[in-house]
Each structure stands twice: as structure tokens, then as C-alpha cells.
Symmetry: C2
Subunit: 457 residues, 2 copies
């Protein structure tokens, strides 16, 4: 059987996730993000298309690097306003049975004790359909909201994150034994006290002396996602992540990153094939190549350069407002900018990029490929990405929502199924079972969280 | 028109909220708290009964005073395990249109910046059906979970809470002007930057330098609930609360508290009639008085003394495990215990209470009246409570869930409607409009949060 392609839909509880300006398109409904109806419809569409999951990004601050203020971000609704991603999940769970929910949780500003309860609650309510995208945060503005002068240094953030994971594993895996809850009506015993343990964690960054507040949820630890691209980030992913999310515009960059992550995972004694890797992509399909191309061009006419550059400025820390749209990047005397767009030049090192072209590229789905064409052409391309880079699937951004997802489900999913590269039915069970096979409800035996099970805490 | 009686259902995302041992009753479904189905069914029942809201309690720790450990609480599922209350609300919102959701948020362990976003998100998703029960926490074990040695002192907790409210008001009321979001497709402007302000709060306990992450939600500030019974707590309620929740076993105690709260509210320049007061009560109705009495007796046979005393020990800080069930309280040489049960003796100062009787009283719905009888008798009693104490309605605890609520909706609601003391239709609009009249979407003009609107922050 051909390798099965995994699919996540990539969205965020905000107006213009990674397609800046597109909220002006008459079909776009992203501005209704604050209504339940948007999320219920999206969830139904994705489950109809047998998507593995919906992956919800998040930030806890504003993009205020561009022009030195949040003005451009506000004008363009560049991920601001932005609502809490956790709270749309229970609603979507009501109208679906198999769709999983990967949610971004920024660990820098919340105690692991309360956070662990929120995740366990979601895992209970969804009967084991929860994943957690572990994020340390990258916006200075988020630190200011939390009352700090600035973020912790990048590497320190990952050290703190490592300890946070330890505490979370202790709570999820170690505090309640499997048979703790007996619900024995005759004896009047709901939980056997001797099978519940206080964790007593005294670390460098966290102190927790408590039992986990929740009885064991189906998966205990949610499926763990990570997206760090730096060396420290990859090392963290290789240790902890079951799924890794990557974003880059070319196959070669992705292939190198995939090989590196798998190598690092193996070095940690984990099965490298069981770190599932999802590459960001935007698909614009049409009944014919020409129709798809026309659709892309129509979308592109709505891209906001300012909004897209506000986003790229936030990601890179470079204020792109200081340059004219027609400035050619290779002639700008700024090492940081050149390094930022280096990724764009890997495929064709001789190509020149203007600031405008960067905005237009990033303005549809972010810094990642836009795959355009008929079902047959799109599926060829998806298969070639999987084959050439060793990824396991895609994190699909939208240009226009939910149209981009509806188009994909109606046009591309049937073609993928016809080619035998996509499931016709969901695997029963929890999210982890759907990803790794029936019976695999809990973390794999080679995962470091195992250290915290049934051990003296 | 007779005074309209308000109703909240009182529940918690746990097994045995305030009716310890009742999870063993064959009809009780409280042990399915972790499934969406429980909450969806409950929400539908309550909306059918035109309940104003469901009020969700919460704790962030365990009841470990009784016997000096969490063992009794665990055995009896005394509010442990306990899941997050926020996450069941979006699911219930999917299947209801008018039911409001009052949720307990413990402010001691979460940054106001993130908390404000969660509340705004819920207010958006429910189209303005959210209330917040402001709680500072009372369990030492919760402080230990959050990594602290112990809680802040009681009075200091309320000072911290006051500053927390200031920050929250600034975010909810002051950061985004009414007309900030224009969604002007032609001009490409989603939000007008000059109509969004950073709050720059530097206080004794909190520092926040950020814009609120959410665009204005229907109510902006959620309907504010408070339940503090101490002097400091009442003072806090009189300043901030739009609804107050009280729990006491006799009319006289309630009447005194109501008068005190209304007096304090007036002293703060607020309309004392617009602090709506809900008294805790449990109603066991039956088609006849005899049938109801038989039902109560059957319920009582399931009460767990140990579980109920674990609860009362947690509330009072007194370890009741040190006494025999048949010890008579007035003969116990312990001032704290005598003061705890003083409330029980107001109605009949000559009555003796044993520890067992206290457990049995608290074991059905907590330290509050249990009203038992035919519809006519129950409604007589409810009306007399409202008349004699000046309360506005009831916070109804369950003995067995959802049976206690279903019984109330089927038997008591029609009788209340027949007597003209209960609505036949919901008022359209937000929760605040349902409570205070159409058009009253935002906090009243005499509420202190007004200080933080459109002002220089």
C-alpha cells in the first residue's frame, strides 16, 4: 500500500490567519471567527473530508515590529483580534466523532498545574481527540501582556519548557494509577486513595505539590505537537514531539529538516518513523488547471502587502516598513533580511526577490508552497512532496475560509482516495490510535514521559 | 405583577457537587460529568425550564482537612476529580439559545491578561450569555498546586482581587472603542488603530502593558457574580457584583445578609435593587407531599457522612474526623465547631445537633434549606423565602442529577408560572438584558467599571 498522506487543517481563532487581506474576499468567512457557527461548519466539512485534525495556532501578543507599532496589524486584522483557541474545541466536538483537535498552548505564561487540568478536561470531553502544540512564544508583546519586561532568552525558554513537560508528565502519567477510579457503589468507594499520588516537584522554574485534579483521560498525555525550527527547538521536538509541524517554501529545506529531526529522534532512542511530520502548504484546486490558476489570481488581487509584511516582520524581528515595496532584497544592506529570504532563494538562487514579491508569497498561506491545479495535478504534487521529503502529510493553510477547505474536500480528497494515498474511513479510537494504530492509546514505550509513570514521585 | 423569581442551576464539573454519596443512587448521572452528553442533556432540560442560567462552581485544590489528607475526599469523590468548568460552556451553547452560563474563575492563580481573553472569547461564542463568579479561592491545597507555600491572607486576597478587577475592566471596557472595528472592505481597514489603546497598568500586584487581544464582545465585561460572606467579601460584592450568591440554612441569616449587601451597595452609589441575590436551596418535589417526602428519605439513605464531613471540613478548616458521629456539637469543647454550626441553631436555638445530623444536613445540597413537597407546597415556600428575605431568586443545588432539575422543570416551573412568579418566555438579548431589561447590554452607569471606559489608560 502506498504511504498514506495525513492531513491537518491549519486555522486560528482570528480573522486573517496567514492570508492577509483575504478577509475582504466576498467568500471569506474568517471574520466570523467569533461565532460558533463558523467552527461548527468548518468541523463538519473537515470530518466529511476525513481530515485527521484541525490544528489551531495561537499568539498571546500583537505583531508590532512592522513600523514599530501594532497599527498595521490592527488595520489588516493580522492575527489581531485573536480569541482563545481552547474554547472552540468543545463546540466542534459536539458535531463530530472522529476529527481531532491540535491546539496551541503557550507554556510561558500559565502554570502547568492548571494547564494540565484544561488539557485533561478536553481529552475527556472529546473522548481522546486532543493534541497539544507545545509553544514557548515568540512575540515580545506577549511577555508585556503577562507583566514581564521581555521574553526569556530563546534557549532558556526551551530549558523552562523541558521542566514544564516534566511537571505535565508527572501530573498526566504519574499521579493517578490506571485502576484508581473503581466507582464501587456497594463499598461506597469512587477512587482508591492509595492509587493516587501527590507529585512533589521542586525544580529550577516550577514547584508543584499536589495531586492532578483529573481522573485519567483516554490518552492521558495529549498527542504532542511541536514546531520549533531552531537547533534547540528541533532537539526539543526530537525528545518530546509525536508530530512535528514544518513550514518552508522548498522541498530541499523540508527534506533536510525531516532527516535532521528523525536522526535526532533516533539518537534519543525513539522510533524515527513515529515522529509524524506535517509540512505547511496551501492548495488552490480547480476542476481544471486553468480554473485553478484563475482562482489563485483572483485571490492574489486581495492580498494586503502591509498585512503580510506585518506578519513576516513579527516572525523575523525585521521592520520591513523601512523599505520600498520594489526594493530588491539582495541589494538591501541588511544581513538579517538576506538571511530571512535565503530560504526563498534555495530553489532558484539566481532569482531576485522584491519586498512586494515576498509579501505576495507570504500573503497566501504563509512562507510555504502554494499548490495550484486540477485534482490530478495537485495530487501528483502532494505525492511528490511526500516522496521527496519523507514528510507524513500536510498542514493545510487556507487562502479563503472555509472555501479552501471545502474545495479540497470536494476536489482533492476523492482523487487522493482513488490513488490509494488517503484513507476512506477513519480508524476507530483516540487521536493517537488514529495516527499510530489501534491499541496505541497511550504514549509509545520509547517516549520519555514513560519515566514518570507509576514511579515514586 | 408579583416579583419574578430568578433561577440558576448549581453544578460543578465533578462527580458529587454538594450531595455527597449520591453518585451511588441508580438515577444519578453526575459521574458522567466528563462526557459532553451529560452537559448537553442538562442544558436542554434547563432551557426547557426557562432557567436564567447554569452556575458552575469550581475549586483548584482538594478537600484535605478531614483526617489531614485527601483520602476521604477521594473515596467519596468529594469534588475530586474535578475538571475545568470553562470548557463545557461552548458545548452547551451549541444546543441552547437563551440559557446563560455563570462560571467560577479563581483569580489568584491566573494572569488577568489571559483570563480576560478567555472570558471575552466565551462572551463572543455565546453571543453575550456569560457571567463570571469572581473567586479568590479558599483551599490551601490549591495554592500548593500553583507552587506556593500557602494562600495569601484572606484580606490581602481581596485587595489583590480589587486590583485584578481594575486590570480586567481596563482590558474589557477601555482598550477597544465601540467603533474600533469597521471591517471596511473597500478601504482595507478592519480595525481603526487610533481607536484601540494599550493599557499601561503598573500596580502593586499586577503589571500589564498591552492591548486587549479581543474585539469588544457583546457584554464586554461578563455579568459579575460574587459569593463572599465575610465583611471584606461583602464589601467587594457591594462594589463589583451584579449578582450575589448566598448560602445559609435559615431565612433570618439570609435576610440579614441581603439587607447588609444592599446597604453597602447603596453606600457605593449603586442601585441596591440591581444587585440580584440568589440563595442556595435544594428542592425535592413530588406529585404529592407524601411522594416528595418518600423521595427525600430514599435520597438520604445514600448520603455519605464521610464525604459530607470532608466537604464541611474543607469549608470551615475544622477536622471533623476527630469526633464520633454521635457527638453532640454543643458539648464539644471547640469554639470553631460551635461557631460553624451556630448558623444551624438560629432557627431553633434549643435544638441539639450531632455530627451525624450535620453530615446529613450538608449531604443534600450543602448548608442550605431542602424544600420538599408537592408543587403547591414548594412554590408557597419559594415565594415566602423571596418575600421574607428580599432575595431575587435561587441557586438550585441538585440531590441527584439531572433528576433534581428535571423534576423541578416538570413539576415546579408550571406551578410558578401559574402563580405569575416566573417567566413564560425568555427576554431576548444578552444575559445582562435578561436580568436587567432590554437594552441593558453593558454594565450599569453606576458601576465602578465605568471609570475605565474611554478614559486615558
Amino acid at each position: 500500500m502506498a504511504k498514506q498522506i495525513r492531513l491537518n487543517a491549519f486555522d486560528m481563532n482570528c480573522v486573517a490567519h496567514q492570508s492577509s487581506g483575504m478577509w475582504r474576499h466576498p467568500h471569506d468567512r474568517s471574520w466570523t471567527y467569533k461565532d460558533l457557527e463558523y467552527w461548527l461548519e468548518l468541523a463538519r466539512v473537515l470530518e466529511r473530508g476525513k481530515f485527521d485534525g484541525i490544528f489551531l495556532a495561537d499568539v498571546l501578543g500583537v505583531y508590532d515590529v512592522y513600523g514599530g507599532s501594532a497599527d498595521a496589524a490592527l488595520r489588516n486584522a493580522t492575527q489581531i483580534p485573536v480569541n482563545d483557541p481552547f474554547l472552540v474545541i468543545p463546540a466542534m466536538a459536539v458535531v463530530t466523532e472522529n476529527l481531532a483537535f491540535g491546539v496551541t498552548g503557550t507554556l510561558s505564561y500559565e502554570s502547568p498545574f492548571q494547564f494540565a487540568r484544561r488539557m485533561s478536561t478536553l481529552d475527556h470531553l472529546t473522548k481522546g481527540r486532543i493534541g497539544w502544540n507545545i509553544v514557548t512564544g515568540y512575540l515580545e508583546s506577549a511577555a508585556k501582556g503577562a507583566g514581564l519586561d521581555k521574553q526569556s532568552a530563546h534557549d532558556l525558554r526551551y530549558d523552562i519548557a523541558d521542566e514544564y513537560m516534566q511537571v505535565a508528565y508527572k501530573l498526566w502519567e504519574g499521579s493517578w494509577d490506571e485502576a484508581a477510579v473503581v466507582r464501587d457503589r456497594k463499598a461506597g468507594i469512587f477512587t482508591q486513595p492509595r492509587k493516587v499520588r501527590k507529585i512533589d516537584h521542586k525544580g529550577e522554574h516550577y514547584t508543584v505539590n499536589a495531586i492532578h485534579l483529573c481522573e485519567p483521560s483516554p490518552q492521558r498525555t495529549p498527542v504532542l505537537y511541536q514546531a520549533g525550527a531552531s537547533g534547540k527547538g528541533r532537539e526539543f521536538a526530537a525528545r518530546h514531539a509525536e508530530c512535528v509541524f514544518m513550514a518552508a517554501p522548498t522541498k530541499q529545506i523540508i527534506a533536510n529538516s525531516v532527516a535532521d529531526i528523525r536522526r535526532r529522534a533516533a539518537a534519543h532512542g525513539r522510533n524515527p518513523a513515529e515522529v509524524l511530520i506535517f509540512a505547511l502548504a496551501t492548495v488552490i484546486p480547480g476542476p481544471t488547471d486553468e480554473a485553478a490558476k484563475a482562482k489563485l489570481e483572483e485571490y492574489q488581487s486581495y492580498v494586503s502587502h502591509e498585512g503580510a509584511l506585518a506578519l513576516v516582520s513579527g516572525w523575523t524581528g525585521i521592520d520591513f516598513s523601512k523599505y520600498a515595496l520594489d526594493d530588491v532584497v539582495r541589494y538591501i544592506e541588511n544581513d538579517a533580511i538576506r538571511s530571512t529570504v535565503e530560504t526563498l532563494t534555495v530553489a532558484d538562487p539566481d532569482r531576485s526577490w522584491t519586498i512586494r514579491q515576498i509579501a505576495e508569497f507570504a500573503g497566501i498561506g504563509g512562507m510555504a508552497p502554494v499548490i495550484v491545479g486540477s485534482p490530478s495535478k495537485v495530487v501528483d504534487e502532494l505525492i511528490s512532496w511526500v516522496r521527496d521529503t519523507d514528510i507524513d502529510g500536510f498542514n493545510l493553510a487556507y487562502a479563503v475560509t472555509p472555501e479552501s477547505f471545502t474545495d479540497f474536500v470536494d476536489l482533492i480528497v476523492p482523487e487522493m482516495q482513488r490513488r490509494g494515498v488517503y484513507k476512506r474511513e477513519y480508524t476507530p479510537g483516540t487521536f493517537r490510535e488514529k495516527l499510530f494504530g489501534q491499541g496505541r492509546i497511550r504514549l509509545a514505550a520509547d517516549h520519555p514521559a514513560q519515566l514518570y509513570r507509576h514511579s515514586a514521585l
